[in-house]
Subunit: 96 residues, 2 copies
């Protein structure tokens, strides 16, 4: 399934900035960054649960906000992207 | 339909900061802010097109990024929210 992970992590403290880096790093293991705090991830149910557990260990629920959306597929018919970043199409053949 | 608007607007210049405020203001007319640069909006097709036209007039496509996702409904079964902000349920009765 395709999910969208969006987060706001407080960057006022060194601890917050470290959490921000850790959240981004965790999400990169599961998908692609499409905006500073927005990731599109392709996961199965186990992957979703693992990512969620990992992110919940990182964030501070009193200061940060984390949202995980299940996206409507096929994604290319349900997202419009404008501006300087274009996401990679998960389904397109990977040219190595 | 329910859409998710996510954006990255460059805040390095006064013009960028103004665009950021304008984008947020525009989105507030259509829905609720769930994170700094993430809005859930309830729109019909005409509303989606109007919001999109308006946002494209505001952003600078060389510097900013705008993404509009169509969300899977019912939303409450397709989003998980953690941390300090809880979105208002669009479908819940409005207590005035």
């Amino acid at each position: 399934m395709l999910i969208l992970v969006t987060y706001d992590v407080s960057t006022e403290t060194p601890a917050g900035r470290r959490r921000l880096r850790q959240v981004a790093k965790a999400c990169l293991n599961y998908g692609q960054r499409v905006q500073k705090s927005v990731f599109e991830c392709k996961v199965d149910q186990a992957g979703l649960e693992a990512l969620q557990r990992y992110l919940l260990k990182i964030i501070c629920e009193e200061e940060d906000s984390l949202r995980i959306y299940r996206l409507t597929e096929p994604l290319e018919r349900n997202v419009q992207e404008f501006g300087k970043f274009r996401a990679v199409d998960f389904e397109a053949p990977l040219i190595v």
